[in-house]
Symmetry: none
DNA sequence: ATAAATTGTCAAGATATATTGTAGTCTTTA
DNA sequence: TAAAGACTACAATATATCTTGACAATTTAT
């Protein structure tokens, strides 16, 4: 379920967009001005922003700049006027794409997915009954909880959220312990072992998924190497 | 200097595009049909493809699919008709963006730069189904994994990323082992042998691509000597 | 055709890395 | 403040990789 922030001063437009996107597996939140949008962006996490550039108060350009200032979230501008200069301005301010109103809804969807294909943040992820949930702060297999320590939880979450991607020990330390950490590389191995032990006891075939990449580090894969 | 491949059946269009892009620090190469385009893509490396979808013979869709099959290079489709369905089709085939002819040249430039801005340095390369992926730390042929050791993986990646370029043994040692390495030249041969063995077993015609340059070293070529 | 030079092959020893066992130290919790 | 839990470290063992040298095969030059 991808989360989208809709920003438009017309309530009707917000409703229409939400009505269209929800069946396509998008969770929508609405903001009718720039301040509201910024506040939501700070509080929640979104996967994409759909931004109408014609708004009262701080306009779309300003908001676009502001958003780009604080994150790399994909932005699609919605514009009522087909004015090339405006579009260029938006793209230069950091928007990733634009669409002209009134627009074909399928095209909007295609463009959103083209953008999202490049990134996919998640707060929960499940594979073959093994579920990692950051909000519940819990790892479960077939509904039964597997008790993990904070480091263990962070590590398996990182790997599950980035399947197939190899993480070197140094990189794991940076991402889980923090950049200034003095922790040694062998320590990572210890945590790996503990994670494997605990999950193995649950019955989940952890050794098919949590893979050692010899000479490099570790990664999560979706299927045993065939 | 970014390299762009222009694909269009109209010579005049190719010239116009090149004339416009060159002053903006783009090196342009031209192809007037799909085969020519594919050949250039095999021989050279590009940062972006500008692709007219209306062409004789293999059409733009087919070419787009073909390109996406072998690389992740950004593709902008150029279309004469403002037909929404076509645009969606293109995006779903893997194009990254489109622009409608006749177009504002500034907009084209803005779109090109928007795409290039989010393009990371090449971490993966594929040829004829043989895919080297640094993030997955994995070499696959037709989806099946070929297990390599770190040195082997580094070497084939280096060669594949620099097709047609000969690397002397000394140079390979510098680049893979590091400048201070005391490793002897014969060692390179051993790794080469192991790489060839492993890849040959996968079914990929490695001996057509991984070439010994007698008296010098090794290189990767895209097609058998011809 | 022959010799010289270069590359290919192989397997064993040397080296490097990962796993596991054990234990000490630090942090959190009750 | 004591106990439990979490984190880190070290050492022993297991496993995988790298290197090397001798010889075979191939290519090149005469």
């Amino acid at each position: 379920m991808r989360k989208v922030l809709l920003v438009d001063d017309e309530k009707r437009m917000l409703d229409l967009l939400a009505l269209y996107l929800q069946p396509h597996n998008y969770e929508c939140m609405k903001a009718s001005d720039a301040n509201e949008a910024l506040q939501l962006l700070e509080e929640k996490s979104f996967d994409l922003v759909l931004l109408d550039i014609m708004m009262p108060g701080m306009d779309g350009w300003e908001l676009c700049k502001e958003i780009r200032n604080m994150s790399d979230i994909p932005i699609i501008m919605v514009t009522a006027r087909e004015q090339k200069a405006d579009i260029i301005k938006g793209l230069k301010l950091g928007a990733d794409d634009y669409i002209i109103k009134p627009f074909n809804e399928d095209e909007l969807l295609a463009r959103m997915e083209a953008l999202l294909r490049r990134q996919a943040p998640t707060h929960a992820i499940e594979w073959n009954g093994l579920r990692w949930d950051e909000i519940k702060y819990e790892l479960t297999y077939q509904g039964r909880s597997i008790k993990l320590t904070p480091k263990e939880f962070a590590m398996i979450g990182l790997l599950m959220k980035n399947p197939n991607q190899v993480f070197e020990r140094e990189r794991l330390i940076e991402l889980i312990w923090g950049f200034e950490s003095e922790t040694g590389g062998r320590t990572v191995d210890s945590h790996v072992r503990n994670i494997r032990d605990k999950i193995r006891q649950s019955g989940f075939p952890i050794d098919d998924h949590f893979i050692t990449v010899w000479g490099i580090g570790y990664k999560w894969i979706h299927a045993p190497h065939g």
